[in-house]
């Protein structure tokens, strides 16, 4: 579905991605793990076209989207729940969801809102509350819900567990699995919380200083001693 071929991304003189090739197939959950500064978020941002890749190609269903403007990429079926959630703080939960329905033209608004509320019942309770007054976990739910409102074919999630209470992290990861299983939505997930992310992933990549250093099935990587040493034993303690 989505292919990155030898993608390089630069911020000025700093090369954040040094030739990354990643593939996401229809119906999969693909996880990218890596430590701080490995280029995980840059990878997602590059797919969205901001910043654009300096070299290499990004293909969506065979179509080259490397040079497509960020706001047009959403219309091609890639939706992003950006890092740091970026909720519209002064707008209500429902208005936030409505902003997400811009690409789908708002035709299925009510139906899609109900779907989001089934997925995250917590949002329904807060329907007219301002986005900025929600807790971190609720904001993350709203962020994912907002991205789903665009009726994407591919959902990009940037660290959905960042700064969120463990119980809500579990809820959010359950929801991600549910979207994938029931709606057949393809998901590309970027995470520092490697344990949770690898558990739900069909396939995974390990990113380190701008390069893919390892790839394989989610379970495989979860069992891999190197991965455990680098991202799990230490990482898990941090999370718990």
């Amino acid at each position: 579905m989505l292919q990155l071929e030898d993608v390089h991304t630069r911020y000025g003189n700093i090369e954040a991605l040094k030739g990354v090739s990643v593939e996401v197939r229809q119906g999969e959950i693909v996880t990218i793990i890596g430590s701080n500064g490995a280029g995980k978020s840059t990878l997602l941002m590059t797919i969205c076209g901001s910043p654009q890749a300096a070299a290499g190609r990004i293909l969506l269903n065979g179509e080259d989207i490397t040079r497509t403007a960020p706001y047009d990429i959403v219309h091609l079926g890639i939706s992003q729940a950006p890092e740091g959630r970026r909720i519209f703080a002064r707008m209500s939960v429902l208005e936030n969801l409505q902003m997400g329905s811009v690409p789908s033209g708002g035709r299925h608004f009510e139906e899609d809102v109900q779907k989001v509320f089934t997925l995250f019942p917590r949002l329904k309770e807060r329907i007219n509350q301002r986005g900025g007054t929600l807790s971190g976990g609720e904001q993350q739910m709203l962020c994912i819900g907002r991205a789903l409102m665009a009726r994407p074919r591919l959902l990009l999630l940037d660290e959905p567990s960042l700064g969120i209470a463990p119980i809500l992290v579990r809820q959010i990861f359950n929801a991600i699995v549910e979207i994938n299983k029931e709606q057949g939505l393809t998901i590309l997930l970027v995470e520092q919380n490697a344990f949770q992310a690898l558990k739900i992933a069909h396939r995974a990549y390990v990113l380190s200083t701008g390069r893919v250093v390892m790839e394989g099935a989610g379970r495989e990587l979860l069992a891999n001693p190197e991965v455990r040493a680098a991202y799990l034993e230490g990482g898990q303690k941090e999370v718990a």
């Binding site: 960020p70 706001y71 208005e95 809102v113």
Partner: protein, 441 residues
């Protein structure tokens, strides 16, 4: 209980008051402390140290009282403040308040207390209300800080002045043209500032406003420079002029209706004209807030990156905000020109931009009724203060500082959601009025 609080707060308040007194002393030294007097061989400086000390003492006592009272007030209060509730109430009953306001505005010229002066002031208030509503699109909704809004007002005024005096076109033909020209200038300003936000944007718009004014001042061939343009055609009522003795072959308003001539007729007509224009602006802004483009403005104000991630084109969104805001400024400008019959660059200085921006900010960003309230305060306060002669600007300034201390986010800063969920078959969310209060806020 109060004594305990003040005992704790006293040293801090004393220190605070002392600092304020020292600052005041330094400031007053040249302002009050030195008086120029004609003396032998030119001007002599008369030092008035006692006055400065008295001034500093007043500041000290005032600041001390403020500090002591303020510390007592800072105790956490239960529930929202009175103004908070008023703001929420206004937002919830906006429709009724708006209706009452419109009714009052419609009947105002015929009220017993009304006279030419009152209607004239009412017209000025309405001009600022309209400008405030126009700027509200740019600043309140789209969150683009524009310090040069008066430029569009000037473009509208001069386009009508020039078209009216040279091409002999009437007000009603020129009004849409003035709006269109102003909108084009809005785009002109919009393009270079697309990537700017906040302070940087403010500086560029400030410069833009000054450029327009300086061009008007110096392009003598076209604009007649500082002398301005006079003899601008007055508006007609469906082709009927408001003149005592109309040109041969035309009928004047008073002749057609068979009533005696009165100078007030035109004043009242102008009042209703700006009322109509302002209401059109308001209606437009309220409607557009519920359309995708209006929501996109608000979303852009909140978070530009999130907007991009949601497929909103920030370029188009910003440009439409600039263009539409400018368009209403242009309409108001055309009205201003026809009302005064004379325009000169002096009417379009930075202070006008500042006043319009103050109206939007004082009213509460994005609040339509807040703009009306703030426009009334800002226009009426200096008018009411005329009895106090040289102190009126002082009172005006103090009132503005007071409002910002009391209501830092504006008089009526309260936002109701523009979308509510309805069961299937009900009205579409876009058509639902924002009548339900925000829960919990």
């Amino acid at each position: 209980m109060p004594s305990a609080v003040s005992k704790q707060a006293l040293p801090a308040a004393l220190k605070d008051a002392a600092i304020a007194a020292i600052v005041a002393f330094i400031l007053f030294l040249p302002i009050i402390g030195m008086q120029l007097q004609p003396g032998s061989g030119g001007l002599d400086v008369n030092f008035r140290l006692p006055l400065v000390l008295i001034g500093a003492a007043i500041v000290f006592v005032g600041r001390l009282l403020l500090g002591l009272l303020g510390s007592r007030r800072r105790a956490p209060r239960a529930g929202p403040s009175i103004m908070e509730r008023v703001a929420a109430g206004v937002a919830a009953n906006g429709r009724w308040l708006g209706l009452v306001g419109i009714l009052f505005a419609l009947t105002m010229p015929f009220m017993p207390f009304s006279n030419r002066y009152v209607v004239d002031v009412g017209t000025t208030v309405l001009i600022y209300v309209m400008l405030g509503w126009g700027l509200n699109i740019v600043v309140g909704l789209a969150g683009l800080l524009d310090l040069g809004y008066v430029a569009f007002y000037a473009v509208g005024a001069y386009s009508f002045a020039l078209l009216g005096t040279t091409a002999g076109m009437g007000f009603w033909y020129c009004l849409p043209l003035a709006g269109l020209l102003a909108a084009m200038f809005g785009l002109l300003l919009g393009f270079p500032v697309l990537r700017l936000r906040g302070d940087y944007l403010a500086i560029v718009t400030l410069g833009f406003g000054e450029i327009i004014r300086i061009v008007l001042l110096n392009w003598t061939n076209v604009t007649n420079g500082p002398n301005g343009i006079s003899g601008i055609p007055r508006p007609s009522f469906f082709g009927l002029d408001f003149a005592r003795s109309p040109e041969p072959g035309t009928t004047a308003f008073h002749q057609y209706f068979g009533i005696p001539y009165s100078g007030e007729q035109r004043v009242i007509y102008l009042y209703f004209l700006i009322l109509l224009l302002a209401l059109i602006t308001n209606f437009f802004v309220i409607r557009i807030r519920r359309l995708p483009i209006g929501r996109a403005w608000e979303a852009l104000r909140e978070d530009e990156i999130a907007c991009k991630a949601l497929g909103i084109n920030p370029t188009n969104t910003k440009l439409t905000a600039f263009a539409l805001g400018a368009m209403f400024g242009g309409f108001a400008g055309a009205f201003f020109a026809t009302r005064q019959g004379f325009v000169s660059p002096e009417s379009f200085t930075f202070i006008e931009s500042a006043i319009i921006l103050a109206i939007v900010v004082l009213g509460g960003m994005g609040s339509q009724i807040g703009v009306v309230l703030a426009a009334i305060i800002i226009v009426l306060l200096p008018e009411l203060g005329r009895d106090f002669a040289q102190y009126r600007m002082l009172i005006f300034g103090a009132a503005m500082v007071g409002i910002m201390i009391w209501r830092p986010r504006g008089l009526l800063a309260h936002r109701s959601p523009t979308v509510l969920l309805h069961p299937k078959g009900g009205p579409r969310p876009a058509d639902v009025p924002p009548s339900v209060k925000e829960a919990g806020a």
